[in-house]
Amino acid sequence: MSDIDIKRISYLAKLKLPHEKEEFYANSLKDIIKWVDNLKMIDTSETEPLHNVTEKTVSIRKDEINKSNSVDDVLSNAPERAQNFFKVPKVVE
């Protein structure tokens, strides 16, 4: 296991860890990764990954129109809205 770059990981997760907590999370992450490292000892060269345990659940439904998720419903929980849009700070100059 290589050293964990907590700044990079938190950037990937879109989190800005307070400076004083970086070490706490880095150590915690290190312990847990070390703990799960025992999986590396298992030979899985002949094993396929398992994504869905039941592996047989694709159902096809009729292509019918349902009314759901009206604009007002979707926007009703928005922290800020402007007309029919979510409002965010300016993204492009």
Partner: protein, 481 residues
């Protein structure tokens, strides 16, 4: 002894109590409770229409399967017009505009929601201590240290505590790695996790989508069967929802077993357990052996890898699922100068420590350079774990294990995450394999605290699973609070 759903329905039918009086009785008790098992309680006015309609159906002699029954709902199910927080700060202002599939089915069958049960934040925890709304207290006390407040288990800790203290008749929980069965065990009640794909995940706040499954926490196995009848349905809105034919799970639940049953006990699960835990298994064996049940030793080859597999896969899926909380579309927004600042501030301030930790683990095991070594390897080991169960089920009908390695512990006692994760050692393998499991209370520890046993069944064999659990329940005759 608490009344079962059938008994309550009889009282309603015989006019010994009205639906409104029943609701009042539970609400008053819930309001005066000090366990913090509800994030939100619904006053009678919120439910008055449903109460009246339910009463009318009783008067007309055609009550629905769960008519008038006051239920708690884990605060992870979206409930239309009722605040749904996942016990997180980031969703503390969220009111869904739609009803989850499972809770809609419960409403369709006449039940009435008394409130939303506290749980671990985003269902991540085994003690209900990670909730933004504070820990839940187990209604049970250690008889040797009665002043200690104990955890109810988690993540459906509020659900378990509420059912155990009698502030709702039953509660809907969710189970990702043990979150129904473990708190049920620590609170002395019944908890059922159905086969993955049985009950739709649509409208449940997602934690780990390949593992999450809804199920009931109840006072009896029969109550669990009645609730399963309502919620176990195919749903096109959940692509992992199975379209197999469902049975009636309560009919014949107490029938005599007409064929010989073989139950495997994994010897590797019992290596280092305490005498208290071991005696739960021994007592169950003694109780069932006279009912045409044979017990055999079985041995898993993958147990030592189950927790590692789980703590790679579940955080990886959580890390993806929780990417949606960005402070833009719903939930709490923390301001920032740029769009990126809003994302960063909202997420950093909105998530608690355990959720942050799991997002970080997930981001790490999915990141470039580590994906194959951790995430992909864990998915492969998951198949080996599933195959291991299938090998054992070729020879036995059920597997019997303790539900938890310990009794309820003191709030604040387990601060180290890995020792907390080990609480789920007996429930996680079942979850990874997607198999159904039920925990029933089996006895008391030397400290006077409830302990549970878990029966694991084969895929979609909930009917048989409930039958064997009902038989064990009858024989063990556990007396709740």
């Amino acid at each position: 002894m608490k009344s079962s759903i059938s008994q309550i329905k009889d009282s309603l039918r015989d006019k010994k109590i009205s639906v409104e009086e029943l609701y009042d009785e539970f609400l008053i008790k819930a309001k005066s409770s000090k366990t913090n098992s509800f994030n939100l309680l619904l006053d009678k006015e919120n439910n008055i229409l449903s109460i009246k309609e339910s009463q009318k159906r009783y008067e007309n002699g055609n009550p629905l399967p769960l008519d008038g029954i006051p239920l708690g709902i884990k605060d992870l199910f979206c409930t239309k017009g009722i605040r749904t927080t996942a016990s997180s700060k980031i969703l503390s202002n969220f009111t869904p505009n739609y009803e989850s599939f499972v809770t809609q089915k419960l409403l369709d069958d006449g039940s009435i929601f008394i409130g939303k049960n506290n749980c671990d934040e985003f269902a991540m925890g085994s003690s209900n201590e990670t909730s933004f709304f504070g820990p839940v207290k187990n209604p049970w006390k250690n008889k040797n240290v009665p002043t200690d407040d104990l955890v109810p288990g988690g993540s459906s800790g509020g659900s378990a505590a509420a059912v155990a203290e009698g502030t709702c008749v039953a509660s809907m929980g969710t189970d990702t790695g043990g979150s129904i069965r473990q708190p049920a065990s620590l609170c002395g009640i019944v908890g059922l996790k159905p086969t993955f794909g049985s009950c739709s995940r649509w409208g449940i706040v997602a934690f780990a989508s390949s593992l999450d499954q809804a199920g009931p926490l109840t006072n009896s196995v029969e109550d669990a069967a009645l609730i399963l009848n309502s919620i176990n349905k195919h749903d096109f809105n959940d692509t992992t929802s199975s379209n197999h034919v469902r049975e009636d799970y309560s009919i014949g639940i107490n029938d005599k077993l007409d064929q010989k049953i073989k139950i495997g006990i994994p010897s590797d699960y019992l290596k280092d357990v305490s005498g208290d835990i071991l005696s739960q298994i021994e007592n169950t064996k003694k109780a069932l052996i006279k009912h045409n049940v044979e017990f055999v030793d079985v041995e898993f080859k993958t147990t030592e890898y189950a927790l590692s597999t789980y703590y790679i896969l579940a955080p990886a899926e959580a890390s993806s699922n929780l990417a949606r909380y960005d402070g833009i579309r719903y939930g709490v927004r923390e301001d920032g100068k740029s769009l990126d600042d809003i994302y960063l501030n909202s997420r950093t301030k909105g998530f608690g420590d355990e959720v942050t930790r799991r997002i970080l683990i997930g981001a790490y095991v999915l990141s470039a350079g580590y994906y194959d070594a951790y995430y992909r390897q864990a998915q492969k080991v998951r198949r080996l774990i599933k195959d291991d169960f299938q090998r054992i089920f070729n020879d036995v009908d059920f597997i019997l294990t303790p539900t938890t390695p310990n009794e309820a512990f003191k709030i604040g006692d387990k601060l180290d995450p890995i020792s907390m994760y080990k609480n789920d050692i007996y429930t996680v393998p079942t979850s990874l394999a997607g198999l159904p499991g039920i925990s029933i209370p089996s006895g008391l520890s030397t400290n006077g605290l409830p302990l549970g046993i878990q029966f694991i069944g084969n895929y979609f064999e909930e009917k048989k699973l409930l039958q064997i659990a009902a038989l064990a329940e009858k024989e063990l005759n556990f007396n709740g609070q």
